[in-house]
């Protein structure tokens, strides 16, 4: 368990102010744009940076003033920082050597750790001969040698290719459940954050904007920034409210031009909003097609005014339509220029809290 209480760290250009609670055996991902303080959070927890104020405790022990070597926290850097002058076994056994563990016991532990990450027999290999995925697993094994209760991963998947990435994610999840340790990792990939963590903490400008389960973050974001950062978003203004509608809640129907009246709600129960539009561009996403559609100008809209997709990132600023585009998923590719109607499921729309 990690408790970060009112930690401040000042830099020439900006300041980080943190309050964060991470429970035991959780996988928490820290998500945010570059320069939002994600990595600094990890470095503060690990002890590479000292907080100017506030306190950090790990498992109830105040570690704020401890040097990194006395915190017992595992840390895996983005590019793994495997020591190039040592073999795999020497890397993995580094912490044991530092602690003067007798060679026999150390070798047993190294074997165990290599087995844990599925690299049995790799001990004598040179670092340079390993693939990206193998390097990553060596780095994780090495960090586990200290029996950490907390494992910190800094963008652990960014330097391996897509295919490996999902394997490694599964690996990290398996290790966490096998060892029961807390994992905190930094990422700027929303898919990654949503995919493997049980909680996501979204950062912006050195502050935590929202922490919650992936579903919470995705479906019930507290600001337009969070809404747009974790996935494609469409916004609709209704009275003084701004509603978030995700593309998967927008059904796309082809129509003949001019036949949609725009007001209706086809089912007649007030739960659907239909908007006339035209396909502008299509992105193939594997399981479906993301269609970017231009809303018809002056479309009569009764229930709410479409705001367009993609929110301005600045919280506090009024949400201005960046063109009136909506994004919607569809199972087939529609040619650009196709006239469509967008049927928004308003029962799944989320009213963003007023700022």
């Amino acid at each position: 368990m990690i408790t970060i209480r009112n930690v401040r760290k000042r830099y020439p250009e900006f300041e980080i102010i943190l309050d964060l609670e991470i429970g035991e055996a959780e996988i928490v991902s820290i998500l945010g744009p570059s320069g939002s303080g994600k990595t600094t959070t990890l470095r503060l927890i690990a002890g590479f940076e000292r907080a100017d104020a506030g306190s950090i405790s790990v498992n109830g022990r105040d570690v704020t003033a401890l040097p990194p070597e006395r915190r017992g926290i595992g840390y895996v850097f983005q590019d793994f920082t495997l020591f190039p002058h040592m073999s795999v076994a020497e890397n993995v056994g580094y912490a044991l050597r530092v602690r003067a563990v007798p060679p026999a016991a150390a070798n047993r532990r190294i074997e165990e750790l290599l087995e844990l990450v599925d690299l049995r027999g790799f001990g004598t290999r040179r670092i340079g001969s390993l693939s990206g995925g193998e390097q990553q697993r060596v780095a994780i094994a090495r960090s586990l040698a200290v029996d950490p209760t907390v494992l910190l991963l800094d963008e652990p998947f960014s330097s391996v290719d897509e295919v490996l990435r999902s394997d490694l994610r599964a690996e990290v999840r398996r290790l966490r459940s096998e060892l029961g340790i807390t994992v905190v990792f930094v990422t700027h990939s929303r898919q990654e954050a949503l995919a493997i963590s049980n909680r996501v903490s979204v950062y912006k400008g050195g502050r935590v904007v929202q922490t919650g389960s992936p579903e919470e973050i995705y479906r019930r974001p507290v600001t337009p920034f969070v809404a747009s950062f974790v996935g494609p978003a469409n916004y609709i203004r209704r009275n003084s409210e701004v509603l978030l509608v995700r593309p998967e809640d927008v059904e796309l129907r082809t129509v003949r031009r001019g036949t949609v009246d725009g007001t209706t709600d086809a089912a007649g129960d007030g739960k659907l909003l239909v908007l006339p539009a035209e396909v502008e561009a299509v992105e193939f996403q594997g399981h479906s097609y993301l269609h970017r559609c231009r809303l018809e100008e002056g479309a009569p809209v009764s229930e709410g005014a479409p705001m367009g997709s993609g929110a301005p990132m600045e919280s506090g600023a009024p949400i201005a339509p960046r063109g009136t585009f909506f994004e919607a998923l569809h199972s087939a590719r529609l040619a650009p220029g196709t006239a469509v109607e967008l049927v928004c499921d308003m029962s799944r729309a989320w009213p963003l809290p007023r700022e």
Partner: protein
């Protein structure tokens, strides 16, 4: 400039091989031939004594220089602080400061009546001894070690150290187990370079060695000029050549690993002023001591003439009863200045032009023959080349021309490296971009490369001139003292116990050299400071 890129690389190789064959290999060969000529063969124990001294002082000098350089290299590669640029720039000191001025500065600072002795009320003999020779070599080369170490250190990701600490290692432990092993190639490069320069040292040992100590380099010179025993000289030269070839072969990788890189002034480096109080105090203290060690001797020289500027007048008008400079040096002071500048200009221009052409035409091509040949002069005895040139060409080629040729050959690798570092940093992407846009090879050079490389070129040209300006071995070896340049004049003044005059002349030299570099600095904008 009409042939293909690959062809030019080939021509560059041929030119280098030919030049070095004629002016480096042939002279050395001519000297070595004398092994079978007239004269005596030195006793084995005499050769052994000289060899042992050459090796031991070089090992000790290199070891001390590296230990002293370590903390400075740490500071330079980890922090920003005032004077950092100066420390990095000082790495060229051994190349542009004549060894004879180092001798004068060492005597003034560490000598019996020097600043240090006066400061502590001692009368210790710190210079005319083994210790003095080591001291001078350390003084000469420590900045070079700083440059090599700091360049490597700033290339080591600091996260290696952080990783080690997250794995439970202490600060010193992670240094010993992780950082130091990663620095090992740089340590071996720095050690090899300092060792080699000290092993081949001439001027310092010539003066400080007295009759007791001689490096092989000095022994060759003495046999040749003082005992007029060409055969002995050739034997010493052969021994030295054998050993240097051995070292260069054994440490070729270390020597080539040094690409004249420097620790970058990264604006993201933390300021030393922001470090923890203990680090800050330790570093500042050490850097101050280092600055005094490096700057003190030179400052002493300037201090001495500032305290009594009339010594400048003595250079031109002798005091009553004193011997005139003209008598001792066999040239007037204006003559020394003009001669030095003329030789430096001719030799510097030739070296620079050759280096620039080689670097540009040979860019990006890995050619083993070229690499080995062009750096060969670095591991070669300058005295041997000088004496060989004399043996081969004396009476055929004018002495002045021989000096210039010799200087070009021995300074070529150093100047070439400076130009190449700049050319490689520029890369050929601009050239390619310009050629895609339809520019001819010459237009690319004129419009793209020349403007971007102006500072590199100016710098290299300045160094080429300074290297010739500082040369004593070639001038003394070929000219036998009859060509009186600055270093020769200073050497003679010391020999005739006119130390104050030597100091005054040294200060004039330092002033001219500083003016040269300031001029270069002022006339070329700094690209690196964008």
């Amino acid at each position: 400039m009409s042939s293909t890129a690959a062809g030019k690389g080939g021509i560059a190789t041929i030119v280098v091989v030919a030049v070095l064959l004629f002016f480096l290999a042939a002279p050395i060969g001519a000297l070595l031939m004398r092994v079978a000529g007239d004269g005596t063969v030195p006793a084995a124990h005499a050769v052994y004594r000289v060899l042992r001294f050459s090796l031991s002082q070089a090992i000790v000098s290199a070891g001390i220089a590296i230990v002293l350089a370590f903390p400075v290299a740490y500071a330079v590669s980890h922090y920003r602080f005032p004077g950092r640029r100066l420390i990095v720039a000082a790495s060229m000191l051994p190349f542009v400061l004549p060894s004879i001025i180092v001798v004068v500065a060492m005597v003034a600072f560490f000598g019996r009546n020097g600043t240090v002795n006066r400061l502590f009320g001692m009368e210790a003999n710190l210079v005319y001894s083994f210790a003095g020779i080591v001291l001078a070599h350390v003084y000469y080369n420590v900045s070079l070690a700083v440059r090599v170490l700091s360049a490597a250190w700033s290339g080591i990701d600091r996260r290696y150290g952080e990783t080690a600490r997250s794995l439970g290692d202490s600060r010193p432990g992670s240094f010993l187990r992780v950082t130091l092993p990663l620095l090992r190639p740089a340590v071996s490069t720095a050690f090899t370079l300092v060792f080699l320069y000290s092993f081949l040292s001439f001027g310092v040992v010539l003066v400080f060695g007295g009759v007791r100590y001689a490096t092989l380099e000095v022994a060759i010179y003495r046999e040749f000029f003082i005992d007029l025993d060409f055969r002995s000289a050739a034997v010493f030269a052969a021994v030295q050549l054998g050993f240097t070839v051995l070292f260069v072969a054994a440490f070729a990788r270390s020597i080539h690993a040094d690409r004249a890189g420097v620790a970058r002034s990264d604006p993201r480096l933390p300021r030393l002023a922001d470090a923890s109080p203990a680090t800050r105090l330790g570093m500042v203290l050490y850097l101050l001591i280092f600055a005094v060690f490096l700057g003190g001797p030179l400052a002493t020289l300037i201090g001495r003439v500032a305290a009594d500027p009339t010594v400048f007048r003595d250079l031109f008008v002798p005091r009553p009863g004193a011997r005139s400079v003209e008598k001792i040096v066999r040239s007037t002071v204006p003559g020394v200045i003009l001669r030095s500048v003329a030789i430096a200009f001719v030799s510097g221009t030739a070296t620079f032009a050759l280096s620039a052409w080689l670097a540009l035409s040979h860019r990006g091509k890995g050619n083993r023959l070229f690499e080995t040949t062009i750096f060969a002069p670095m591991g070669v005895s300058v005295v041997s080349v000088a004496l060989g040139l004399r043996l081969l060409w004396e009476g055929i080629v004018p002495m002045g021309a021989l000096v210039v040729v010799g200087q070009v050959v021995v300074t070529l690798p150093i100047v070439f490296r400076i130009v190449r570092a700049g050319v490689e940093e520029l890369g050929d992407r601009f050239v390619q971009a310009a050629r895609v846009l339809g520019a001819s090879r010459f237009a690319v050079f004129r419009d793209v490369e020349l403007p971007l490389l102006r500072r590199t070129f100016a710098n290299a040209f300045a160094y080429a001139m300074a290297l010739s300006f500082a040369d004593i071995t070639m001038v003394l070896g070929v000219g036998r003292g009859r060509i009186a340049t600055f270093p020769v004049a200073i050497y003679r003044l010391i020999g005739f116990r006119s130390f104050d005059l030597a100091v005054a002349l040294s200060v004039i030299y330092i002033g001219m050299c500083a003016a040269l570099f300031l001029l270069i600095d002022a006339t070329t904008e700094r690209r690196s400071d964008r």
